[in-house]
């Protein structure tokens, strides 16, 4: 019993713990290095984020992401884990709703007032994104229609029309906004 146990755990460690992950790393790095290394978006000054990971936005001219339990700390993601009958959750949602509706002047959709599971959600719902358009347009000094057009271009649809939701990637939308309608110097 002892010899097979020790030999096979050693062989399995070499095979599944070193050979397999290292071969996958080599393959990934050779074929799709950008994706293998976290899909980083590099601008003139260096990397500005990962295309897949949410980041915090507070400026009036930017599309705002969902609330996050960790303020978009991508070194230690987490949700609130508050249960459905939690008074703390109820109060936090009510407060976020007041703030969001004051900023945007339209009823807040559910995803704008609830925190995601990872705390790093890169997306907001279409309703959430469109609801913020007027504020973004005012801050950038452009027409509402211009902002809506950028948001529509950043829209992601359900897979095969069956799986997942209509949504907008916040970082992609904000990069597109900066490219199409740079912020007026005063708002910077």
């Amino acid at each position: 019993m002892i010899r097979p146990a020790l030999t096979l755990i050693a062989v399995m460690t070499a095979l599944t713990g070193l050979a397999y992950p290292l071969a996958m790393t080599g393959l990934a790095t050779a074929v799709v290095p950008h994706r293998a290394e976290g899909s980083l978006i590099v601008a003139e000054g260096g990397p500005v984020g990962s295309a897949l990971v949410g980041q915090a936005f507070a400026g009036a001219g930017y599309l705002h992401p969902r609330p996050s339990a960790v303020d978009y700390d991508a070194a230690a993601g987490a949700g609130t884990n508050l249960g459905p009958t939690s008074a703390a959750l109820r109060d936090a949602v009510a407060e976020r709703r007041t703030v969001w509706e004051a900023e945007n002047g339209t009823p807040a959709p559910m995803d704008a007032v609830t925190a995601s599971g990872s705390g790093l959600d890169p997306d907001v719902s279409l309703v959430n994104a469109r609801g913020q358009a007027r504020r973004i347009a005012e801050a950038r000094g452009v027409d509402l229609a211009d902002v809506l057009a950028v948001l529509a271009a950043a829209e992601r649809r359900p897979l095969w029309g069956l799986y997942g939701s209509y949504r907008v990637n916040v970082l992609a939308a904000n990069l597109a906004l900066d490219a199409a309608h740079p912020m007026p110097p005063a708002a910077h």
Binding site: D73, T80, L82, G83, T85, S86, R90, G117, S118, D123
Partner: protein
């Protein structure tokens, strides 16, 4: 309606793929070892053609898992001074390493730690990934041995069954899934965390690492331990809707295939379909409750589906499908935070686990767990008509029923006694995050998850205290081996029984009547055992929420 269509398409594709995989697995477990394998067995001193009885098969399982535990514990304790540690992670604390090592060896993958904070890349690869493979292969080997016993054949040889599960099932499937995940954007790199400056000028540190390879086997082996702390909710662990569908498919693939493998290996595919049907009905009922609860949402928070703890790309429907799949199949990975699901969803998830992980269940483990209920079901049927119960032509007698009851009792014993202690000892009760009935739900879920070797959690609950890591570590051992050992004993006992002649008085175990009886047996055992505590937890939480009460 779109959701229903999506679920139906998923079920059809899954069933077809599992059927094909079962044909492949039948060949793997019934053919003689290939030449390359024979060299490995010679090196290990294994005589591949020697059949083991129930006792020596069980001892081999225990010896192999003990060796795995020691190695993993050592790696976790020493990771600070070992290579492949670009972010300079320190050694894991002894009690946490104890809990983590047991957790991965028993195929539970309960995470009392957060991967990106507390594990080096070497620990993730040579520590956890290895156990993801071999704990899954252990479950598959035991599952196959139990099937052989029920089919009246010798149980086989643990060392070859385990090795062949890794070489011919788990590695090929993991490579395929790993490549899909990499193409979808899951990182697979040895570079340390990335440092970026956001558009608003803030610093953001983005954890990454050799994630895709580990995530592939974490799903296929019903392991569930995430590379990142928030598991498959993390946008780098599960970046797209396609990666999500591939992962949830992988969670169920091998467990479903085991139903059909059973039918093929006992030379009567109808028996496999009967067990598949019983599991499928329970799965669909659970999914319906979770999906409707999450869609209806939380009246305390306003109108709309419940999105607290959920990712926007998945929404309520895919989070519900995952929640049902991961709790039914003893996987334990999550793509949304279970602590924030609605009360009835939490109820279903807890029950899925507390039944003993038999709704498809863990790889191999789900099938031998369900066969435990089959023994009890044919015994009940025998009592009702006054005949000696039989299954697949072999008499189920006092020895088998006693062993089955013994194995079953380990589940309520571990869950109820463990949870009761944790709810009353102040030091342990401090782990509870939420006030009110949901707090009891958190305790119950944690203990069910450990004993059921699931590994998911109501994650607000504090799992990293010394009390909880120790208690849950011990209960994971109970939940794993107190079922494996009796089931191998039952299989060993059945394997030497003569097959009787089927007569008109024999109770057929492939028709709808048997499927209903099996479902009723599972539900009655589960309901009778856990109803009182469920009434105080999720049911009370449900009624409180209906009354508009918060805590």
């Amino acid at each position: 309606m779109t959701d229903l269509l999506g679920f139906a398409l998923f079920a059809a594709a899954l069933t077809a793929a599992a059927w094909a995989l079962a044909a492949h697995m039948t060949r793997i477990y019934e053919n003689a070892p290939a030449r390359a394998e024979r060299g490995l067995y010679r090196l290990a001193g294994v005589r591949a053609d020697v059949m083991q009885d129930g006792r020596s098969y069980a001892l081999a399982v225990l010896a192999f898992n003990a060796a795995g535990f020691v190695l993993l514990y050592a790696i976790l304790r020493a990771q600070a001074v070992l290579p492949l540690n670009p972010d300079g992670v320190g050694a894991m604390a002894p009690h946490l390493a104890f809990n983590t090592a047991i957790s991965f060896v028993t195929n539970t993958n309960w995470q009392a730690y957060s991967g990106e904070v507390q594990l080096s890349y070497l620990s993730q690869m040579a520590g956890l990934t290895v156990q993801n493979f071999v704990s899954a292969a252990t479950g598959m080997a035991v599952g196959v041995a139990v099937i052989r016993g029920f089919a009246g054949r010798p149980l086989g040889n643990f060392w070859t069954d385990m090795t062949r599960s890794v070489l011919y099932v788990l590695i090929p499937l993991s490579v395929v899934l790993g490549v899909v995940l990499i193409l979808q954007g899951v990182p697979q790199t040895l570079l340390g965390a990335a440092h970026v400056t956001t558009l608003e000028g803030a610093d953001q540190t983005i954890a990454r690492g050799p994630a895709a390879a580990q995530i592939a086997i974490k799903q296929l082996g019903t392991n569930g331990g995430g590379f990142f702390g928030v598991n498959s909710a993390h946008p780098l662990e599960n970046p797209t809707v396609l990666s999500n569908m591939a992962q949830v498919f992988a969670i169920l693939l091998i467990p479903v295939a085991f139903c059909f493998l059973f039918g093929r290996m006992v030379r009567d595919t109808r028996q496999g379909w009967a067990i598949f049907a019983a599991m499928g009905v329970l799965f669909a009922l659970g999914l319906a409750v979770i999906h409707l609860s999450e869609l209806a949402g939380n009246p305390l928070l306003g109108a709309g589906p419940n999105l607290e703890g959920k990712e926007m790309r998945f929404g309520a429907a895919l989070s519900s499908l995952w929640a049902e799949a991961t709790t039914a199949a003893s996987n334990g990975s999550v793509n949304a935070m279970h602590d924030s699901f609605m009360p009835l969803s939490g109820l279903v998830m807890t029950v899925n686990i507390a039944l003993g992980e038999v709704i498809f269940g863990g790889v191999g483990a789900g099938l031998y767990g369900m066969l435990l209920y089959v023994v009890l079901a044919v015994f009940l049927a025998g009592l009702m008509v006054g005949r000696t119960p039989e299954y697949l032509g072999r008499k189920i007698e006092a020895r088998e029923v006693t062993l089955a009851v013994l194995a079953f009792l380990s589940i309520p014993l571990g869950i109820l006694v463990g949870a009761a202690l944790s709810a009353t000892v102040p030091q342990a009760a401090a782990s509870v995050q939420d006030a009110g009935p949901h707090g009891l739900g958190e305790i119950l879920y944690a203990y069910a998850s450990a004993v059921g070797n699931n590994g998911s959690a109501f994650a607000g609950w504090g799992a990293a205290t010394q009390w909880q890591t120790t208690a849950l570590g011990l209960l994971m051992l109970l939940g794993r081996y107190a079922v494996i050992v009796p089931m191998l004993a039952i299989a060993g006992s059945l394997s030497v029984k003569r097959q009787g002649v089927s007569t008109s008085g024999t109770f057929p175990t492939h028709g709808p009547l048997f499927v209903v009886l099996l479902i009723v047996t599972v539900v009655i055992f589960g309901a009778l055992t856990f109803f009182p505590v469920l009434a105080l937890g999720p049911v009370a939480e449900f009624t409180a929420l209906r009354a508009g009460q918060s805590f």
